[in-house]
């Protein structure tokens, strides 16, 4: 099976370099590579050698005649993260003006070597530097059990030139000055995992945890630290790994709002003292800041950040306690931020906050209810008291903010000029919770001078489990390219997505420390399901495209409808559920290292919510099972999980089943024109169809498999469509 990932017929370097001139010839690399490196780049060279060693390529340090030379650039136009990479007959020359630049040169070279066929690297001259200085990711402190995975995850981020991570701290780091916070956090998380409906039970009328006070509080985040906390040594190791990889950690130490982590053990500091699980502190109580600054100091000592985030999003209990009731929301919010800002400024640290409380999205003559109004005056309906409660406005706090504040603008979908409101005040920002799909005019808005970049958030556990609850592997890769490659254009995203689709399965497996049998063993055998087929390709969904589409490069091969001439009428796939049989059996009779299922689900389910607790409700995504029966009579039940191993066919490339791999893809662009008052805006929509293959790794490859039963949960609304089954020998 071909392993190299190509973009426009050349080895893919991701994110795409900004200037790249390919030559016609090739440099054939020797079995053992030699590297001569200026001393200032020794650390970067070490990581490079380690990365290639992981690919089975040995690199030795040399002083003369080295194949690869990494030099300090004498070209002053190469700035902090920029680099030059030149592959020619004379060898490989890397130049950078700073360690970060050389680090990225090595990442590009690593990919160039990985994706070049037969050890021959095409001649190329790359002159590269990033489009945006902040290319970020946001997540919680990882659970201790997942630290090895997390360390590899950092390699993944760095390889694709992500250079900033927001690490939500909570009480997930050991606090020596306030151990009671860690203890209370662990106890709370344990309690919440057992809470009926979990911590995110927040439906109207539901008396779950979120509604205890009648209002949704949001952002409980019991996955932070896996519901526990890491030691300072563990956190320091993470910080060290990040520094080596030129990743800046911005710890998010949630203050004012979402401060469960601090208030669970200090309920006397809460804005509402009648709340069992308070999440908002009283900003008029000096003791609040004593504890907060104690914690901040410990975090700063361990992580040594240059920027710290205060959180401050979704602040809902604004000035309701006796101490605060006579203060305006604007003043409370501004003075709280300024107090923390002063503390950081004394230590040479920049302050970051989320931006939502600086907007006034309340329309004239309208009464807003709920959080959508940002910092505007609005009402919250209290389910417990059955009364509307006024949430004081905070938006004028923006006019008192210092120019060195850094914001995460995550209400960018509220209008096309959200970033400009901050630029009017000289404030820099990045787009938080970056989601290109919901982003009107993204390419132009990223070019505003006060927009430093963006960050992709993960609101699940920081682990492979959490990552595959959403599309985050692919999203990081997508964002990396948008924020690095100045030539990114949405209309080219089909070509980009083809690359992402090939990169992420391999990287996912690498992070999990597992090589899938299909990648290691090229031999396969098609398992015939034609006798079971009961539905044409154009059935519940339009799968007709797979009859003619080319499979994705590097995909596991499948035998698709071998005897079908009319996709409208001939039975070409096996449909289980959806009104058909709820069970079918595929005869296998053979020994396989893994079995790959090319399948799809006929109904679009909600899938795991982006903000729901990772630990709750995962069973709701199981739509059926593949039941493997061995010759010895033993049985293995493989859950078919919506959005992880199976997906409906309406997704775009990688953005679907996260534990599966896209095999067939079709994309149609739809153009539209929106007529506004004085001009029109052209828009594009797209229709995507993707069919994924899920590879199940056989835990007993020496045992013969007799058959595999496909079962569907009759409670689920759709059906499993099986197009092909391939066994990896």
């Amino acid at each position: 099976m071909k392993k190299q990932v190509l973009y426009q017929g050349k080895p893919a370097i991701w994110p795409l370099p900004n200037k790249c001139d390919w030559g016609d010839d090739f440099l054939c690399l020797p079995y053992a590579l030699s590297l001569k490196c200026d001393d200032c780049f020794a650390d970067e060279a070490e990581l490079f050698m380690r990365a290639l060693a992981g690919d089975g390529i040995a690199v030795e340090r040399a002083t003369e005649g080295a194949m690869i030379r990494a030099c300090l650039a004498d070209n002053c136009s190469i700035y902090e993260e920029g680099y030059l990479l030149d592959v020619s007959a004379g060898g490989i020359l890397l130049q950078a003006g700073a360690p970060a630049g050389m680090f990225y040169a090595f990442q590009a070279l690593t990919q160039l070597i990985e994706n070049s066929e037969g050890g021959c690297v095409p001649y190329v001259k790359i002159e590269d530097s990033p489009f945006k200085p902040v290319r970020g990711a946001h997540f919680y402190v990882p659970p201790r059990k997942d630290l090895p995975w997390f360390h590899r995850f950092l390699d993944f981020l760095a390889k694709y030139k992500i250079n900033t991570i927001f690490l939500e701290m909570g009480a997930s780091m050991q606090f020596d000055s306030h151990p009671e916070l860690n203890e209370a956090w662990e106890a709370f998380c344990g309690e919440m995992r057992a809470y009926p409906g979990g911590p995110d039970s927040n439906h109207w009328g539901d008396r779950g945890m979120q509604m205890l006070e009648g209002n949704i509080k949001n952002s409980v985040h019991i996955e932070n630290g896996g519901g526990s906390y890491l030691t300072k040594a563990e956190m320091a190791e993470i910080a060290g790994l990040c520094r080596q990889r030129h990743i800046e950690i911005i710890p998010e130490v949630q203050g004012l709002s979402h401060s469960y982590w601090m208030l669970l053990a200090h309920k006397d500091l809460a804005e509402r003292n009648d709340d069992r699980y308070p999440d908002t502190w009283c900003p008029s109580n000096p003791k609040t800041y004593e504890i907060y600054f104690d914690c901040l100091q410990e975090i700063v000592d361990v992580l040594r950040p240059s920027t710290v985030s205060l959180g401050h999003d979704e602040y809902q209990w604004v000035g309701v306690c006796e101490r605060c009731i006579r203060r305006t929301g604007h003043d409370i919010f501004a003075e709280d931020v300024l107090k923390c800002h002063d503390w950081f400024k004394e230590r040479g640290i920049r302050t970051h906050v989320w931006s939502d409380k600086f907007y006034n999205l309340v329309k004239k003559d309208e009464v807003e209810i709920g959080m959508g109004s940002g910092g505007g005056k609005h009402l919250n309906f209290n389910q417990r008291t059955m009364k509307n409660e006024l949430v004081k406005p905070t938006y004028r706090a923006l006019d008192r903010m210092p120019g060195d504040l850094l914001l995460s603008d995550w209400y960018y979908s509220a209008g096309p000029t959200t970033q400009d409101m901050f630029n009017d005040r000289g404030i820099k920002l990045l787009f938080g919770n970056f989601h290109p799909g919901s982003f009107h005019d993204m390419e132009a808005r990223l070019r505003r001078p006060n927009v430093l970049g963006a960050e992709v958030s993960l609101w699940h556990e920081t682990s492979d489990l959490g990552m595959t609850m959403t599309d985050n592997y692919a999203k990081y890769l997508e964002a990396a390219n948008i924020l690095w490659h100045k030539g990114y254009r949405f209309k080219k995203c089909e070509a980009y997505n083809r690359v992402i689709s090939q990169i992420y399965p391999a990287e996912r497996d690498r992070m999990n420390g597992a090589v899938s049998p299909s990648a290691a063993a090229p031999e396969h055998r098609f398992i015939d399901i034609s006798g079971l087929c009961n539905a044409p390709l154009r059935n519940r969904k339009d799968y007709g495209f797979i009859a003619t589409a080319e499979p994705m490069p590097n995909a596991i091969p499948f035998e698709i409808c071998p005897n079908v001439s009319d996709i409208e009428r001939d039975a070409a796939c096996l449909l289980v559920g959806s009104g058909e049989a709820e069970r079918a059996c595929v005869e296998v009779r053979g020994k396989y290292r893994s079995i790959a299922f090319l399948h799809s689900y006929t109904a679009a389910l909600a899938g795991p919510p982006a903000h729901a607790c990772t630990y709750s409700g995962a069973e709701e995504d199981i739509v059926g099972h593949y039941v493997v029966e061995y010759a010895d009579g033993s049985i293995v039940r493989i859950p078919v999980e919506y959005s992880r191993t199976i997906y409906t066919c309406g997704s775009a490339y990688a953005f679907g089943a996260q534990r599966a791999n896209p095999v067939y893809q079709q994309r149609e662009m739809n153009e539209s024109v929106e007529d506004l008052a004085f001009y029109s805006i052209a828009g594009t929509g797209e229709t995507n169809r993707t069919v994924f293959a899920f590879e199940w790794v056989n835990p007993d490859p020496e045992k013969e498999i007799l058959m595999i039963a496909v079962t569907h949960d009759p409670e689920k609304p759709g059906g499993i469509v099986l197009f092909g089954v391939t066994g990896i020998i």
């Binding site: 006579r326 203060r327 305006t328 604007h330 003043d331 300024l338 006034n360 309340v362 004239k364 005056k377 004028r396 923006l398 006019d399 008192r400 903010m401 210092p402 120019g403 060195d404 209008g415 096309p416 000029t417 400009d420 409101m421 630029n423 009017d424 005040r425 000289g426 005019d441 390419e443 132009a444 808005r445 070019r447 505003r448 001078p449 006060n450 100045k486 254009r489 949405f490 209309k491 024109v673 506004l676 008052a677 004085f678 001009y679 029109s680 805006i681 052209a682 828009g683 594009t684």
Partner: protein, 642 residues
């Protein structure tokens, strides 16, 4: 403060709004330099475009033979109007097509704005097919004094940028002017240079002269020659007071006809003000003679309209004002004349209907005095008027927004004017306020000096009920102010500082406690009778107060607060600038009661930026009968300020 100017959809302001404009997803990154190729006949326009871009300091433009990122081409396609163009900007650059140099010039003005109003060297993708609604898009301005010529040239360049194509130049008495042309070589040279400068920008100069008698018509040829004009606007000053009853109109028609014939023989056209040719202003009337202390009879002349040649262009001044004829254009059209609306401040009343007639060729805005210090002295603010007029004459189908203060453009477009006005004013006057150069703002806490609530129980509800301000949002590109600090209940709590009247003589000692490059004051004039500063001499600028700036070392500085220049009555056109021409609109909108309001900020550069400012006083001087409402003070400084 940002350096780019956007419409509400986040796209660069294009003014006047193009006829057909489709914003696409394309983007072109300039990366500091552009290249251009232009067909030979458009080279002059391309060079002007390159010069203008160079002057912005944002980028340079190099000419090249092929492969340029900006291509200006002649199009042989049918359907192009003389001034029309097609502009397509995308990922690969810009292609501009036009059939005439004037069309190319207009397209390049749009492209200039597309670049200059955009952010960080980016050209947004757009497809524009554009052409003017009206062919006569003018601005009327007095001949500048020699010392104001640099300003005047900047003004002409700005007018051309907004696709104005007629410059009506007030030259005074034709005879005296002719003498000057004969005797003063410098003046002649200046006239020719002015004409050439305007002509290169596709602006035709229309000399506006007064003529005491038809005998001096020969003077007009020299004037037209000096300014390269093909049309002259003539004001015949003879009132025919001695004429017998009913003869004045005949005498006026005779003189006009003779003048017309004399000009026509030299290939020149004639434009006349409608004032004496329309019944509303040309009927028999009495005029008080201060010398004789008696009323003089001014005989009726309007009947002359039926006796003069039909190819005379009527400058329709009868469309508005106290003697407005709401169908003046129809009056003249029914008699076979073409008209332009004269002295417009925006759309004339019933614009949609009245402008639709083919006989209405366009309109012009009027600036009374052509010198920088008088830029805003029109009261209705000439610069805003010019922006409005250029837009209504270019873009067909705009609806006028009729307000108690006059006719405005639709709200969205007024908001764009509010952004463009301060930028163009500062460019015209060669000023850059510190807030335009710095990004650090520090709101000064003045809450302990608040002495007035937004609503007083004894205030007259119509004029002084400012509760709506509590939710007012700043306009784009405005200096930020911290407003209503600490105010929870706007009905009862004091929310701003009021100085003047019987209230107090001022408010003293508002602490600043910091250094600053400049101080900006958000203020408005309240109470008293609203007074419009207008260029026709009704009300002169008046000093209504002072800001005293006290430094920590004991030194002090004073800034006069001049009504009409630095401060304006709060009730005002929303969005745009009326009356406070050195100030910038910050809060603007329409109150629940339907009142249009604009609160301006005035920025004073600190003469001692390295000295700590201890405090500020606001003092009233009683020049008018109102009071000063001070809503906020912001120091403009380094990024570290608060």
């Amino acid at each position: 403060m940002r350096r780019y100017y956007l419409n509400p959809e986040g796209k660069p302001c294009l003014w006047p709004v193009p006829e057909n404009c489709l914003w696409t997803a394309g983007l072109f990154d300039i990366d500091g330099k552009l290249t251009i190729t232009a067909d030979n006949e458009f080279l002059d326009e391309a060079k002007l475009f390159a010069d203008a871009l160079q002057q912005t300091g944002k980028m340079s433009l190099a000419f090249c033979e092929s492969g340029a990122t900006v291509q200006v081409r002649r199009s042989g396609a049918s359907g192009f109007s003389t001034e029309g163009y097609v502009l397509e900007a995308g990922d690969d650059g810009v292609v501009l097509s036009a059939s005439t140099p004037h069309g190319a010039f207009n397209g390049l003005q749009t492209l200039f704005q597309l670049i200059d109003n955009s952010f960080a060297g980016t050209i947004c993708g757009v497809e524009i097919a554009d052409r003017p609604y009206k062919s006569f898009r003018g601005v009327r301005i007095p001949l500048p004094k020699a010392e104001n010529l640099p300003w005047f040239y900047r003004f002409v360049g700005m007018a051309a940028k907004y696709k104005v194509n007629r410059l009506l130049l007030d030259l005074g008495n034709a005879h005296a002017l002719t003498e000057m042309l004969r005797q003063d070589e410098g003046f002649t040279r200046m006239a020719k240079e002015t004409a050439a400068y305007a002509s290169a920008r596709h602006i035709q100069i229309v000399p506006c002269v007064s003529l005491p008698s038809c005998d001096t018509a020969k003077d007009l040829t020299a004037i037209a020659g000096a300014f390269g004009a093909s049309l002259l606007a003539v004001d015949l000053t003879d009132e025919y007071a001695e004429a017998a009853e009913g003869e004045a109109a005949r005498a006026l028609a005779h003189d006009i006809s003779a003048l017309h014939a004399a000009l026509a023989a030299r290939g020149l056209g004639l434009a006349l003000s409608s004032e004496r040719l329309h019944p509303s202003t040309g009927s028999r009337q009495l005029r008080f003679n201060a010398g004789t202390r008696r009323n003089d009879v001014v005989p009726s002349t309007y009947e002359a309209i039926d006796l003069i040649p039909k190819d005379i262009l009527i400058l329709d001044a009868s469309h508005g004002g106290s003697t407005a004829d709401m169908a003046s254009e129809a009056y003249f059209a029914s008699r076979g004349f073409h008209t332009v609306f004269a002295g417009c401040e925006g759309p004339v009343n019933k614009w949609e209907r009245r402008s639709a007639a083919d006989t209405v060729l366009g309109a012009y805005a009027t600036l009374k005095d052509a010198c920088p210090a008088s830029l805003g002295m029109d009261g209705k603010n000439m610069l805003c008027a010019m922006l409005r007029v250029s837009c209504i004459l270019w873009r067909a189908g705009l609806h006028a927004d009729h307000t108690s203060l006059g006719c405005l453009l639709p709200h969205q477009l007024e908001m764009e004017i509010a952004e463009l006005y301060p930028m163009e004013r500062d460019r015209l006057e060669g000023n850059a306020h510190p807030s335009a150069e710095n990004e650090g703002y520090g709101a000064i806490d003045i809450r302990q000096f608040y002495n007035s609530p937004l609503q007083h129980s004894y205030w007259r509800v119509d004029d002084h009920f400012m509760m709506f301000l509590q939710d007012a949002m700043s306009l784009p590109n405005a200096v930020p102010f911290s407003l209503f600090q600490g105010v929870l209940d706007f009905r009862f709590e004091n929310a701003f500082v009021m100085a003047g009247g019987s209230w107090n003589n001022g408010v003293f000692g508002m602490p600043v406690g910091r250094k600053a490059h400049s101080l900006s004051f958000l203020h408005a004039y309240i109470f008293g009778k609203q007074q419009f500063i207008d260029g026709y001499g009704t009300v002169a600028e008046k000093v209504v107060g002072q800001y005293h700036v006290h430094y920590k070392d004991g030194d002090a500085d004073k800034h006069d607060i001049v009504y009409g220049k630095d401060i304006s009555f709060w009730k005002n056109f929303h969005g745009a600038n009326q009356g406070a021409y050195d100030a910038n609109p910050v809060l603007s909108g329409v109150s629940d009661e339907g009142l249009h309001y604009t609160i301006f900020s005035r920025e004073w550069e600190n003469s001692r930026p390295d000295a700590e400012i201890e405090s500020v006083d606001v003092i009233t001087t009683g020049g008018m009968d109102g009071r000063i409402a001070l809503f906020g003070i912001t120091a403009v400084d380094s990024r570290e300020v608060r």
